[in-house]
Symmetry: C2
Subunit: 247 residues, 2 copies
């Protein structure tokens, strides 16, 4: 009954086995399969269902008139699109896959039912949302203040730690299935410079990256290089174990 989402939420809150089975049920809702580089949601669409990424990688992105693309967030398995997005009239960004991926398409009514009847789950989902917002803030810091080297180190740290939280790392390594162009679009760098920066990171012994597989030999070392402060991921369980109303 474990899912990536339940594993993630348990980083923050204790779930009962009933809670876990509720999340498991959500993961089974209308599963949709996408190929690599397909759009799941397009800017301008009317928001409808909430998407839960089950497998594969995806991203939010925005495109400027002249074609420049910025990836504003990566979706990893267990990640959820905005809980209450249907308040808005239309999407201001797109969501696309990077690899083949499967999503659960959760209807508004299902979600409302779950939130009403399972307060602990509700709290976990809100926590998830708040973490995503915090990540977005941290990306702002990353793009605004860090050099290419630090920035890349920071992103790799973040991805590694997020993947670890959903159980998708193995022996200090994880998948990194996207291209250097994708990385460039996420980091506000040119693809050429991404390439050179990765080589610098390799040269410094901070990463081993080959065939879409990333190894981090010394997590503390790369954290230091990136000035990575994990507090924004809010991964330690707080004193909020009790299931309280969350608005």
């Amino acid at each position: 009954m474990e899912t990536t989402l339940s594993r993630k939420l348990e980083q923050f809150i204790k779930l009962s086995s009933e809670d876990r089975s509720v999340l498991y049920r959500l993961s089974g809702e209308r599963v949709r399969r996408f190929g690599a580089r397909e759009d799941v949601i397009r800017e301008g669409d009317a928001p409808k269902d909430v998407y839960l990424l089950l497998s594969g990688w995806a991203c939010r992105y925005k495109q400027l008139e002249d074609g420049r693309r910025q990836i504003v967030a990566f979706f990893l398995p267990g990640d959820l699109c905005d809980l209450n997005i249907y308040i808005l009239k239309e999407m201001d960004h797109s969501v696309g896959t990077l690899t083949p991926a499967t999503f659960a398409e959760i209807t508004r009514s299902t979600l409302e039912e779950v939130v009403l009847n399972h307060p602990r789950v509700a709290q976990g989902l809100w926590w998830e949302t708040l973490v995503n917002i915090a990540i977005q803030r941290e990306w702002t810091v990353n793009l605004g203040q860090r050099s290419a080297f630090e920035r890349m180190a920071h992103l790799l740290c973040e991805l590694y730690i997020r993947l670890r939280a959903v159980g998708l790392t193995k022996d200090g390594g994880c998948e990194l299935p996207f291209t250097q162009v994708d990385l460039a679009d996420a980091m506000g760098l040119s693809p050429v410079h991404v390439n050179r920066t990765l080589q610098e990171l390799r040269g410094a012994g901070l990463i081993v990256l080959r065939d879409k597989w990333l190894e981090i030999p010394d997590l503390d070392a790369i954290k230091n290089a990136a000035m990575f402060n994990p507090n924004y991921l809010h991964l330690e369980r707080g004193p909020h174990e009790q299931a309280a109303r969350v608005l």
Copy 2:
């Protein structure tokens, strides 16, 4: 009975006079006064109340170990800190004033009461939250893809339009009360370059900026220069006039 917050929410949703008076009451909750450049919330604090900015300017910011500071958001009058922030155990960023400012400190229980009993207000507040998140995404795009010139133009557009939504513009102009150093910290530029960029914008006739007052002679012109797409501010009323549950 009008407040900056009610004016803003009415950009999106129709409020009854009762709704407006509820918002007015919120603005009167425990008002706190701050001087310029004071911290309101510090990274590491346990989140407690929700702050509503009544007057003055403030910002969210994060600081790196080595002192580099990134302003990740500006607060204008009528802006609200994260609605359900108390789910988190500690703040991952700070909130500080830029000018002398007053905040209403709204307790969690007051907020819950309002949200429960006034669904239209609740929906408006969630809309506000979603817009703030969308702004954060747009800042990511701004820092990642736009040149200094476009970036600055974009920020000034955004601030002007947000201020207009709460009725704080006058004759095509608005206050711009912070320093070039603040601008630099928000835009990921050096203060020197901010200065030169502002001069470029003046030279291009896109702005008139003197004595903390900004005039935008031709809003469409500066929007074009910035490739500004206002959709992320979600300012047009949608079809969601009905007051629905919002989780």
